[in-house]
């Protein structure tokens, strides 16, 4: 045999990668729940602050009140806390799978295939976490406003804007999820197969 006979093409079609990632999320349900919870909680907190603000401002619009600045810092802090929790979970989640990564490489996977699998998974977890977090945050924000200001606030919910916020929040959630996965996943993907396999036990 000579090098010309090697066609160099090892493949992992995106549809197959997607299928494998969905599998990972479903079967490792405990781990997935933890990931979704760490993203979802942060997002819920962020959404709570944001939606409270939005509705409250709409309610107070006649009185001409403006946004409370301290909430901006709370938002930043909540993003930061979400990131720390998330990076912690992703580090463990990737580390747990070193043997699997080494095995896949033995079967022919390239570095970017491994990375692809982790990114698709992080994307889906971010999506779920974002949507769930948004729903929870919206419910807590509106209920606490109802308790403080009465059912009047319901009429102040900007329905169209809510979809915009849902979209933005979900995108942010996905960015956070993928962002915190990409570095441990990249490090793992770059390992030589022997190094990845050595980690087991």
């Amino acid at each position: 045999m000579n090098t010309e006979q090697i066609d160099r093409k090892v493949k992992l079609p995106i549809s197959e990668a997607f299928f494998i990632s969905v599998r990972q999320i479903r079967i490792r349900f405990q781990r997935s729940k933890i990931m979704i919870a760490s993203i979802g909680l942060g997002i819920a907190f962020m959404t709570h602050l944001n939606i409270t603000n939005v509705i409250f401002n709409a309610y107070m619009a006649d009185a001409g009140t403006t946004v409370e600045a301290y909430q901006f810092w709370l938002l930043i802090i909540s993003v930061f806390v979400t990131c720390v929790g998330l990076i912690n979970s992703t580090l463990i989640a990737v580390y747990e799978r070193y043997t699997e990564i080494g095995t896949m490489k033995c079967l022919g996977a390239l570095d970017h295939h491994i990375l692809e699998l982790f990114i698709i998974e992080a994307f889906l977890l971010g999506l779920y976490g974002g949507i769930i977090g948004f729903i929870i945050g919206t419910i807590t924000a509106t209920s606490s406003l109802i308790m403080q200001l009465g059912f009047d606030v319901l009429s102040k919910i900007p329905i169209i804007d809510m979809f915009k916020y849902l979209g933005l929040t979900t995108i942010l959630s996905i960015i956070l999820s993928v962002g915190s996965t990409i570095f441990p996943a990249l490090r793992a993907a770059k390992l030589k197969p022997v190094e990845a396999l050595r980690y087991h036990v």
Partner: protein
């Protein structure tokens, strides 16, 4: 086509641990004949796994050359190595290393996905392989739902998925009881004869080497002796 499918020339692998040099492989020269069943025997720490890693292109040697089917392994780039692992080599591990979230069928399909085989064909071939290793009734079981011996048989079927020319089995019976281990070894031998796939199995268990065409004895990173025509037990030659 050359007679030997694997050739190692002056192969060395050194590890530096706390200022000390460990010679995991120390100037190894071997040739492995195409279609042979070779056992690599030596005590724990003698360098069997290290040698496998060099042959399989999983790690780079400190010195020396490995030819795999006349290809010089260290000259291959990442893409060529991946292709080689996918198409030419099958690995079997002591710890089975099946992908935990996948069923037996999916585990066997995985290397075929990497090889670009269409879904239908993949499924057909995976089922045939599972039947071959007597697990036709366990297609949709995940590794945790299979016994150790069954897991190793799935791993064996997976190693065969892309019709490799070489199977590297590192202590394939290390986590199995003697009876189950022997079954795996005989299955390997059968596949070796039926398909002409070259098999190299590392072990420190002398009970499972009778099936071999050739036995290579290792100690302290060196080849101690090579016994060809092992079963005939009439010829012994130096390394």
């Amino acid at each position: 086509m050359s007679d030997s499918i694997i050739e190692c020339q002056n192969l060395s692998k050194h590890y530096h641990i706390g200022g000390e040099i460990i010679k995991a492989l120390d100037n190894v020269n071997i040739k492995i004949k195409r279609g042979d069943y070779t056992s690599l025997v030596g005590p724990s720490g003698s360098g069997k796994t290290t040698l496998f890693n060099m042959i399989g292109g999983l790690d780079r040697p400190t010195e020396g050359i490995v030819y795999l089917d006349e290809l010089e392994v260290s000259k291959l780039d990442a893409y060529e190595l991946a292709w080689l692992r996918c198409h030419k080599l099958g690995y079997i591990f002591q710890t089975f290393n099946l992908i935990p979230v996948m069923t037996a069928l999916e585990n066997i399909s995985l290397p075929m996905i990497f090889a670009g085989i269409p879904r239908k064909e993949r499924r057909k071939k995976a089922i045939a392989l599972l039947e071959k290793v007597d697990l036709g009734d366990r297609l949709h079981h995940r590794p945790t739902e299979l016994s150790a011996g069954q897991q190793q048989r799935v791993a064996l079927a997976r190693a065969l998925a892309n019709d490799p020319s070489i199977i590297l089995a590192d202590e394939p019976t290390g986590n199995l009881d003697t009876q189950t281990g022997l079954k795996i070894i005989h299955l390997l031998r059968t596949l070796n004869k039926e398909r002409g796939v070259t098999i190299i199995a590392a072990t420190h268990d002398l009970k499972i080497i009778d099936v071999s065409d050739c036995v290579i004895w290792m100690r302290d990173g060196k080849i101690e002796k090579v016994e060809r025509n092992f079963k005939a037990a009439d010829k012994t030659e130096g390394p």
